[in-house]
Structures are given as C-alpha cells and as structure tokens.
C-alpha cells in the first residue's frame, strides 16, 4: 500500500474513495492507460485480518465506530465502510443483479441515456467472473437452512443468494475468502499503475481553470493535488457531503434512499448460531416490497437484538448457541437527506419513514416471525420495545398489535440515491455521472442509483461504475488524438 509520500501534486484522474465504485473506476481507468491516484480516508486491512462483524472491525473499518444514525422518528442506524475497499470489506457479500424492471424504471423516470438492461448483462457477467460469484459449496449453515425450511413450509418463495467468495478445494459454507475490492479490483488497478493512498481525507474540491484542486489531509498535514478530473466515490453519504462542501448543492443529498429493516431473534431446539457467517437464503415471496434474510448473530449482536426488551428477553442471551438474528427489509416510500454542516467534518443525515413504510415494516416482521415458527422456533423475540415473546401463531396477533416503528431498532446497511443520475432536471449528474454544474467532476458510486433497488445494491453499483468509467475512458482517448 502506498504511503502519503506516494501522493503526487498532479495527476490525470483522482478517485476519492476505494469501495465498490472507486475501486472499479480506478481499475478501468488505469487499464485504459490513465494516470490514476486513489485517495482513501480509511486504512488498509486485509481480508481475514479482523473478525467480521466484530467490535474491532467496527472500530477500524466502519465510519464512526459503526455508531452512525439517520435522525428522525425513529432514528435509523446505518453503517458505512471506511477503509480501503470500502463497504465491500465489511458487507455480507451477497450478490444480486438489479432486476430488469428496476433498471427500466431508472431509465424511464430519470432519463438515463444508453441504459438498456442488456448492456448490463455483459458487464455483470465480467464482474461475476472477476469476483467469483457463486453459491455455497455443500450444505448451507443451520441458520440459513431455517429460513429456507420455514419458507418452504409456508409455500413462500425463497432462494439461496450467491456471494462473491472463493472457496478452497473441498471447502464448506464458512470457509470462503471474500472477494472484496482489496482482493480484486484494487490489485488490478495497482498492477495497471494506479496509486492508492490510505489515511487521506478530502476536505473539498475547487475548480481551477484547467483542473480540479483537491484539498486534502493526510498524515496530519494539509496537501493539495491538482487533477485533470476527479471521480467522487465516497459512498451515498460522503459523496454528497463532499460536493456540498465544494459548493455543489443543488439537488445534491436531498433524496437519500435506503432499505429499512426491522429484526427479531429466535431460539431453536438445536444449536444454530454460526457467529460471523450471514445466512445466504432470502425469502423473496413478497418482493420487491418485502425481503427476509439473516444477520450476523454472534453473542454481542444477539444481545443487541434483545436489548429493546431486555427485562423480558435478556435471559435468553445465555442460550446464544441456539439462537440467530433475522431481519425483514422493505422498499421504502420515504426519503432522507444528507447535509454538510459548516464546522463539522461529518454531515447530518436524516430520514423520514412514511405511514406505508411503517405498516410494511409491521407486516414484514410479523410474516418473518411466522417463518421462524414454521422453521421450528420455540420462541421468537421481536426487536422493539413492548414486544411480546412469540411462542405460537396466536402471539403473532400481539406482535402486530403492539408494533410501532418508533419503538423498534430500525436499521439499514444499504444507502444510495443522494446524487441520482440522469438527464432529468432533478438529477445533478448526467447519464454517466458527470456533475452538470461543474466540469471535470464525476460521481461514480451508490449515490448515482436513482432509488433503492430492493436487492443488495453492490452489483448495480459496480456495473454502473464500470459502464461510466468506460464511457469516460473512451471519450478521453477519443479527444486525445
């Protein structure tokens, strides 16, 4: 990994952020012969160095120790990656191509040029090859099997979602190595000549005639880099904040979209807890509105899931080996905002759930609880204050009656849409991510997705980022005759 000394004063393209958007951008541009520098705020940590979903990982690879909340009633906890490789280093690794009807909706409602679903198929194929997207070898983990079995008993559609993992010969479900950006596109970018500098925070961007001045902080010192072009790939929260700090405010950060989730934990007769592994099954019967899946369930996270009703529920933490945490995710009608505040490094994030969202969350949690009962749970513990212990179908009536999103632990791990792409007037960037109100700045991360896709967004982010980077590279080489 390059150190601060590797930071030049000039470069052709500077990429802010090294996650799903930044890493793919860097690889595509570097392989096209462009001089690329990637600056990343976080540190470089190799896959396997830290226990996934642990408090240590949250401290070193998540922003703000993982204690980030979108303010509102209720507040919605979210997570951001802050490390080389970004969110891809810390997420579940589940991979789903964006559905064709979502791509069509984005194209039609936001006026995105050259955005046919077929174009994405070939890019998605490449990405899947590079990342080794595949299902689990052999049997899935017990907690994943519970989702599958409970769903089957109800006649509700479920499927195993592939992950980008590499498994050793004869490996099992939990022996995979994650094919995150530090394992794939970043090494590719570096092999093609890109420089990646970690511990480097961009304060703001300044247009300067023939380039963009990138005002940043590295190793405690202020530095400036003059770039011909800047790609902003800091994620759906940091990207709009940086643009706002740089004077680009119109339609930026006002349309944050997420996948709100509520959760429960359930106890089973057998030992089902697999600690750091996330179930690969998802219930898709109610897509796109509802989706059920499993979360990391090591004892600390389980205690957290029980904490909303600790006096009644806490006791069962001692049976953690027999328990697992599951979530119900919705597509949300509501939206949120990211607002950079003068005097603060971090922006304020807010989000508003609509009534329909709240009703959907209730219905989702109730259905998920039924899946658990059908999977053989002896008790289900819904994560909201005032929740009943659910032991049978009759208790589901109480779960539904007492639920309020305001008293629940609502969270999201997916954030997008703060800088939506398209030719439509409400889009601050064009069909390829180029900022309309400025020259030489392009956004190329989850901020571009016009709304939340209803599936894990990484596949969409990567495919779009590659498409946009290729478009840029082609035009650049075209203009360089």
């Amino acid at each position: 990994m390059n150190t601060a000394d590797a930071l030049p004063t000039r470069c052709e393209v500077l990429v802010v952020g090294s996650g799903a958007g930044g890493a793919t951008t860097a690889a595509v541009l570097a392989e096209a012969g462009i001089d690329v520098v990637v600056v990343e705020e976080g540190e470089w940590i190799a896959q396997g160095e830290i226990v996934p979903f642990s408090l240590e990982q949250m401290e070193r690879q998540y922003r703000s120790g993982g204690v980030t909340v979108a303010l509102g009633r209720p507040g919605i906890a979210y997570t951001e990656g802050r490390c080389v490789g970004g969110g891809t280093e810390i997420n579940s690794g589940l991979y789903r191509r964006p559905p064709a009807d979502v791509l069509d909706r984005w194209r039609d409602q936001y006026g995105i040029a050259d955005f046919a679903p077929e174009e994405f198929d070939s890019i998605a194929d490449e990405v899947e090859e590079e990342l080794s997207v595949r299902t689990v070898p052999g049997a899935v983990t017990p907690s994943s099997g519970l989702l599958r079995d409970g769903s089957d008993a109800l006649g509700w559609r479920q499927s195993e979602i592939p992950r980008w993992m590499e498994y050793p010969e004869g490996g099992s479900a939990t022996s995979g190595r994650r094919r995150s950006m530090t394992e794939t596109y970043l090494p590719r970018a570096r092999r093609a000549g890109a420089r990646v500098v970690s511990g480097c925070r961009v304060r703001r961007l300044r247009q300067a005639g023939h380039g963009v001045v990138v005002d940043l902080e590295v190793a405690g010192a202020r530095r400036e880099v003059l770039a011909d072009h800047v790609f902003v790939c800091g994620g759906a929260i940091q990207t709009p904040a940086l643009l706002q700090r740089s004077g680009l405010r119109r339609d930026v950060g006002a349309s944050l979209a997420i996948h709100p989730t509520v959760k429960l934990s359930a106890r089973f007769p057998d030992e089902v807890n697999v600690g750091d592994d996330v179930p690969v099954h998802q219930v898709k019967e109610f897509a796109p509105n509802l989706s059920f899946g499993g979360s990391a369930s090591h004892p600390g996270l389980l205690a957290l899931a029980l904490s909303d009703e600790w006096p009644k529920f806490g006791q069962v933490v001692e049976s953690w080996r027999h328990m697992s945490v599951f979530y119900a995710a919705i597509t949300s009608e509501g939206r949120g905002r990211v607002d950079a505040l003068p005097g603060f490094q971090d922006p304020v994030v807010t989000y508003r759930l609509t009534r329909r969202d709240r009703d959907l969350l209730r219905a989702g949690l109730n259905r998920l609880a039924l899946v658990m009962l059908e999977a053989g749970a002896t008790e289900v513990y819904p994560s909201y204050r005032g929740a009943p212990v659910v032991r049978g179908r009759r208790d589901l009536a109480d779960l539904a009656a007492r639920f309020s999103a305001n008293r629940a632990s609502v969270m999201t791990v997916h954030l997008c849409s703060t800088v939506p792409m398209g030719e439509s007037d409400r889009c601050p960037v064009d069909s390829f991510g180029a900022v309309k109100a400025a020259d030489r700045i392009t956004v190329n991360d989850a901020s571009l997705l016009p709304d939340a896709p209803g599936v894990n967004p990484q596949a969409a982010v990567m495919a779009i980022a590659i498409r946009n980077a290729r478009h840029f590279a082609a035009r650049r080489s075209g203009g360089r005759t």
Binding site: L154, G155, W156, E285, F286, N289, R356, D359, L360, R362, A363, N366, R367, A369, L370, R393, R394, L396, A397, L399, A400, A401
Partner: protein
C-alpha cells in the same frame, strides 16, 4: 386436485338465517341445481318465528331452534344423528354487534360450543366459515394475502374470528376432520339491510370514496362462496385445510363503485355521479375512533366501516383453485345485477 366425498345424509348448517346460511339452504336443496344434494338439511335458527320461513325453502329442511352460545341448546341438535352420517357447516357469527363482548361470546365461545357438540356426536367433516379479519389489512394496494399468513386481527371482530380459527386448528390437531373457508366482503342475493344501504348510497352518488379509490378489496359473490364451502366440505384427504374463497381478482374500490353504478343503470335505475371523495386522513381518524370506541367495549358500525374503507384487503384464491377446483365464474357486474334483481323481486327499495 383431490377427489370428492359424497354429500352426507344430513348437513347441519348453523347461522341458517344469515346471508350465507340462506344462500346455502337454497343451493343445497334446489332440485337439479349445481350444488344440490339429496338428504336432509338441519338448519339452526335463533327463534321460533324463523322456523316457518326456513322450512318454506324446501321440504328437506328441518329447522331447529338453538343458541350456539348455550351449549345445552346444542345437544338436541345432534343427539339423534348417527356418527359419521353428517357434516357441519358453521356459518353462524356476528359482524356488527351491539357491543364488543358479543364478538367473543358468539364468534369464539359459540364456535367452541358447536365444535364440542359436533365432535361429541361424531361429525364427519366440519366446515368453519372464517373471514379476512383475523389477518388484518394489506399494507399497500399491490399486496395480497397468501394461503398462509400470520394473524394480525383487525379489532374486536378480527380477534374473535381468530380465536375461532385457533379453536378449529386445535381440534384439527386433536384429530377432528375440519376445514376453514375464509371469505372477504360478500355480495349477492339474500343480502341484508346494510348491503341495501350500500346500493342506495351508490345510487344517490353519496358513497364516500376514502383516499384515491385505488385501495383494492377482494369480494365474494355469494354463489362463489357456496361453491367454495361445498368444495371444501367434500374434498377428500386435503393436504392443507384453509382456503381463501373470493372472486378471482381483488377490485380497486373505485371500480366496485363504478360497477355497482353500472349494474343499477342496467337494471333501470337512475344513478347520480359519485362525487363524495373523502380525504385519506378521515379514514385514519375513523380508524382511530373505532379503536377507542371498541376499547371501551362499545361498537359503532358506521365508524368501523368508515375506518376500514381506505384499506386494501386482497386475497389470493389460487390455492382453492389448485386444491379444490374452485372456479368463480360470475363477473362482478353480473353478480351485482343479480343482487339488484333479487332486491327488486322482494320489493326492496334501493
């Protein structure tokens, strides 16, 4: 699709004077009719004054005065029946009672009493008529209830119907051969006064459409419901034991109102343009008021109905189609027209 049992020598129908009960009595006894059957129909009525009216439907009907909330009055209903020689179709229940306590007494306790008496007498197959109410409402218009759903009862009626279902399910687990039929909002001949009021409101252009009218409601033409009940009663060795029985697709509420208007016009009535649009928040206010009223033990029909008007209650009947060969073939327009003609034939003013 499963094969069918023969109809039993005796069919016991509770709630025989109700909407579904009356329709059933006609359907089971009409000679040469689709669901007609030989044998006797034992019809439970509330009062002696209803005996004659019920008996007049067919000479094969034996009315019996009984109160399902009093276990002792039920023993004589079954006492002379041979075990295995009768089915029970339990349609008795109350939807709009004078107070909340009546829900529990009639719908839950009443069901328990009928279950017990029927089992003790050796019922062959028990058909329980349930409702959408134990499952609440759908959170968005494009959603719908699947074959299996969690309970989320909608207030007093929903809770009592959920209790009834749970009693039936417990009996099934305990060895009773029982099935559950879940119908939504009825329409069709034999309709009660409240449905007449509904038609009148549409005719005079004063039916309140809450919100944008796109909320979807599943409805069931009463003949479709009779079909569903009979198919569920006679299906041999069912793997699943509960089905939604409704018209094939849910209807946007706006479409229901328009179709009723069209049916009225087709039957020669003058219909005023429906102009009563009510903002969505009124529906929510009514729902909140309904909650408060019911919590205090009281019940006000109009508030309850208004509170439910902006909701989507949509169900998927494909399980009944697949398992039972259920085939609802009357269109909404035709069903409404037949209802109107039935009203006119009885001199009911719309």
């Amino acid at each position: 699709m499963n094969s069918r049992l023969d109809p039993p020598p005796t069919t016991v129908v509770t709630g025989a004077t109700g909407w579904l009960g009356t329709a059933l009595l006609h359907a089971l006894t009409a000679e040469g009719a689709r669901w007609g059957r030989p044998g006797r129909i034992r019809a439970l009525v509330h009062r002696a004054s209803e005996v004659l009216v019920t008996a007049r439907i067919s000479p094969r009907i034996d009315p019996v005065v009984a109160d399902i909330t009093r276990p002792r009055s039920l023993t004589q209903v079954f006492s002379d029946l041979e075990p295995g020689s009768f089915d029970v179709v339990h349609t008795a229940g109350i939807i709009h009672p004078p107070d909340v306590a009546t829900f529990e007494r009639v719908n839950a306790q009443g069901t328990r009493n009928v279950l017990q008496a029927a089992r003790a007498a050796g019922v062959r197959r028990f058909v329980h008529v349930s409702s959408n109410s134990p499952f609440g409402t759908n959170p968005i218009p494009s959603e719908y209830f699947r074959r299996e759903e969690p309970y989320a009862p909608y207030f007093g009626y929903g809770i009592s119907k959920m209790e009834a279902e749970l009693l039936v399910r417990d009996s099934i687990d305990d060895g009773l051969d029982a099935v559950i039929v879940r119908p939504p909002w009825f329409y069709g001949p034999h309709q009660p006064a409240r449905q007449t009021t509904f038609f009148t409101m549409v005719r005079t252009g004063r039916f309140p459409i809450v919100g944008d009218g796109r909320q979807r409601r599943s409805m069931v033409y009463v003949d479709h419901l009779v079909q569903g009940v009979v198919l569920a009663e006679l299906v041999e060795r069912p793997m699943y034991r509960a089905w939604w029985i409704a018209d094939r697709e849910p209807y946007p509420l706006e479409h229901v109102i328009q179709t009723v208007g069209e049916a009225l016009r087709a039957e020669g009535y003058e219909v005023a343009e429906n102009s009563l649009r009510v903002p969505a928040f009124v529906g929510r206010f009514a729902e909140a008021a309904d909650r408060v009223i019911q919590k205090s033990g009281r019940y006000v029909t109009q508030v309850h109905v208004l509170g439910e008007m902006d909701k989507t209650i949509a169900v998927d009947v494909s399980a009944a189609v697949d398992d039972l060969g259920y085939d609802p073939d009357t269109s909404l327009l035709d069903g409404m027209r037949r209802s109107i003609r039935w009203c006119r034939a009885r001199g009911i003013t719309l």
